[in-house]
């Protein structure tokens, strides 16, 4: 958790969107934050629904208005407008899914940063802040459009000032809106993946064996890249990878690329896992095995 105004040393390496999120059982779930783009898209989608609903609602009220019952319709319209504008986000996020329809579509969810239950107060706080994030710049824009060039400088200043709130998520590491900051929430991606098939158990046939030198070429990073290649199953990439590995390990070409890679994957995985068991984890092909808890051996 950071506050954008406080200077901190920049983290080394590429900026990741994964954040640690420790459950009461003490396991780190490693949530992935929603990107600024997907959040903007979700917001636009929600706004679109709100605007379309409002327009349809207004047209319906206007046509019925001529038929009589004016008072009830006017009240309905006023209340409907108010609830849609202020309640749409809050009411959906207070529900069990913690997401508006737009967020669900984009696979996002609002979560309390401390891992506790998302309270009604937090949801109201984060959405009331939309008043200054969205409606304030909009009203300044509208004012300028209405008055022409009445006071261009003042309008520019007002736009800049309110723009700070609008673009706030881009200025901090955790992509927090002003509302998220006040409410102690953040927006995370909801992943819903299926369990891929077991690559190693698949083959019921004699496997190829590999020399120590051939298996010593790669580390965990390369193993998992190989896993991706095998799971994607694209023939050209399988052929390329097989050629590279054969070339490096000095193994002769024998035609069956997929079978070769599957066997190599199984053998490499088994070898690296046996290393894990005794506390040696080899991250990638450049690194020497690291003893957990110890120093890097050079």
């Amino acid at each position: 958790m950071n506050w954008p105004f406080r200077r901190r040393p920049k983290p080394a390496g590429p900026r990741s969107m994964r954040r640690s999120f420790v459950t009461p059982e003490g396991v780190d779930l490693q949530l992935e934050l929603g990107s600024a783009g997907s959040r903007a898209a979700a917001f636009l989608f929600d706004s679109l629904i709100i605007v379309v609903t409002l327009v349809a609602f207004t047209i319906a009220v206007a046509t019925l208005l001529s038929a009589g019952e004016a008072e009830v319709l006017m009240i309905l319209w006023l209340l409907g407008f108010f609830v849609l504008r202020n309640g749409w986000f809050s009411l959906f996020e207070m529900g069990g899914r913690g997401a508006t329809p737009g967020k669900r579509l984009l696979g996002l969810r609002v979560v309390a940063r401390d891992g506790a239950r998302l309270t009604g107060g937090a949801v109201i706080a984060r959405n009331a802040m939309r008043e200054i994030e969205v409606f304030l710049p909009l009203s300044f824009l509208g004012e300028q459009a209405a008055q022409g060039t009445a006071d261009a400088f003042l309008t520019l200043f007002a736009l800049l000032w309110s723009g700070i709130f609008l673009f706030f998520p881009l200025f901090n590491r955790d992509r927090l809106r002003v509302g998220d900051l006040i409410a102690g929430t953040w927006v995370v991606r909801t992943v819903n993946s299926k369990l891929g098939a077991d690559l190693v158990a698949a083959a019921e046939r004699p496997r190829r064996t590999f020399s120590e030198a051939a298996l010593g070429l790669y580390g965990v990073y390369e193993l998992q890249t190989l896993e991706d290649v095998l799971r994607n199953g694209r023939e050209d990439s399988i052929a390329t990878v097989a050629r590279t590995i054969r070339h490096k390990a000095g193994i002769e070409e024998e035609g069956d690329d997929l079978g070769f890679l599957s066997d190599y994957y199984a053998a490499l995985c088994a070898r690296l896992e046996s290393g894990l068991m005794v506390g040696r984890r080899r991250e990638n092909k450049y690194s020497e095995p690291v003893r957990s808890g110890g120093r890097v051996r050079i």
Binding site: E25, N86, A125, A128, G196, D198, A201, A267, C269
Partner: protein, 345 residues
């Protein structure tokens, strides 16, 4: 789980066929549990937690813990990324269903009225006092200014809002604005007042983020308008009557505006002066409780809208107006500040 050391030559793996890598063993042992949890979660996510039969509901936490420990073990012993990613998302989804789920809507509403709202308002007492004093002070300033020089009135009140109620108006026309009945569209008027004022309350809460300065201005301006109108009516000897006209709904409405201003003030001061906490912690604590108070002011403004739109138009007797307004204020004060026994939340 058999431990293989790297000393064993790689060809030996060929013979150890049933347990080539950890992921295989692991999947064989636990996959049924994971798939059952996956199925339960999908059903909850598609419909709701109520869709589950009791036996599945009881199994849910157990399956969650099993899967969580599977994830820990898999991270340390297995290199099958697909397996780890699958377990991570499964645990995350289960976590949100088990820890993140809200209590029922009625329970939440009940708690809000019983404890949440009054406690949030009590926590804001200092800021509320500041807002009330600020309103009063600005009203006095505006009153003195306009009494001294009526042209100030036009500097404070926009023409549209004055609606003829300015220093040049006659006593009769001013009296008429206080007591004339408007028969038509009373309820619409009440609704309009409610939505308009609520929007301002939410806005003043949100503006608190800009170090509370705009909120303070909003509250002060509210007071100025109050004072300016008083000056106009008092000059014609209608001060008491205006007080009644304002009291009937104003006690509720001005109190609500002060509370929403206090909520904004709280956020602004928490960010500017976080004290011992970090700035983020202070902002979150202030934000969550102030938001509850702010949500409450929307309810107060609904009441004020009813009193203003309907009550004021039908009750035109000054004493009744004072009684209703005073009663409402006493009611709010008792509700918010009456000490309650502290129980565990």
């Amino acid at each position: 789980m058999t431990v293989q050391t790297s000393a064993i030559p790689t060809s030996a793996i060929l013979e150890a066929r049933p347990a080539l890598v950890n992921a295989t063993r692991f999947r064989a042992a636990h996959q049924d549990d994971w798939e059952r949890l996956d199925g339960l979660l999908t059903r909850i996510e598609k419909r709701s937690i109520r869709a589950l039969p009791e036996e599945d509901l009881l199994a849910l936490p157990l399956l969650y813990r099993t899967t969580l420990s599977s994830l820990s073990v898999a991270r340390d012993t297995s290199l099958d990324r697909s397996l780890i990613v699958y377990l991570e998302q499964l645990c995350t989804r289960a976590y949100f269903q088990i820890y993140g789920v809200q209590t029922s809507a009625w329970r939440q509403i009940g708690r809000f009225f019983a404890r949440g709202w009054p406690e949030a308002v009590q926590a804001l007492w200092r800021e509320t006092l500041v807002c009330v004093l600020l309103t009063a002070a600005s009203a006095v300033v505006a009153y003195l200014l306009v009494r001294g020089d009526p042209s100030w009135f036009f500097g404070i009140i926009p023409e549209g809002l004055a609606g003829g109620r300015d220093p040049s108006a006659s006593t009769e026309s001013l009296r008429a604005t206080l007591y004339d009945r408007q028969e038509k569209m009373l309820a619409t008027f009440a609704t309009f007042l409610f939505t308009h004022n609520s929007q301002i309350a939410i806005f003043s809460f949100a503006l608190g983020f800009a170090f509370a300065v705009p909120t303070v201005l909003l509250i002060a301006y509210n007071g100025l308008m109050l004072g300016a109108f008083f000056a106009v009516f008092a000059a014609k000897g209608l001060g008491w009557n205006l007080a009644g006209w304002l009291m009937i709904h104003g006690t509720t409405e001005i109190f609500a505006i002060c509370l929403s201003g206090a909520a904004g003030l709280r956020i602004g001061t928490a960010i500017a002066f976080p004290g011992r906490e970090t700035r983020t912690e202070a902002a979150v604590r202030a934000g969550r409780s102030a938001a509850v108070a702010m949500a409450g002011t929307v309810i107060m403004l609904a009441v004020a809208g009813l009193l203003e739109g309907i009550g004021r138009q039908t009750v035109i007797d000054d004493t009744s107006r004072f009684l209703i307004g005073g009663g409402a204020l006493a009611g709010w004060l008792l509700y918010f500040y009456l000490p309650r026994g502290r129980t565990a939340r």
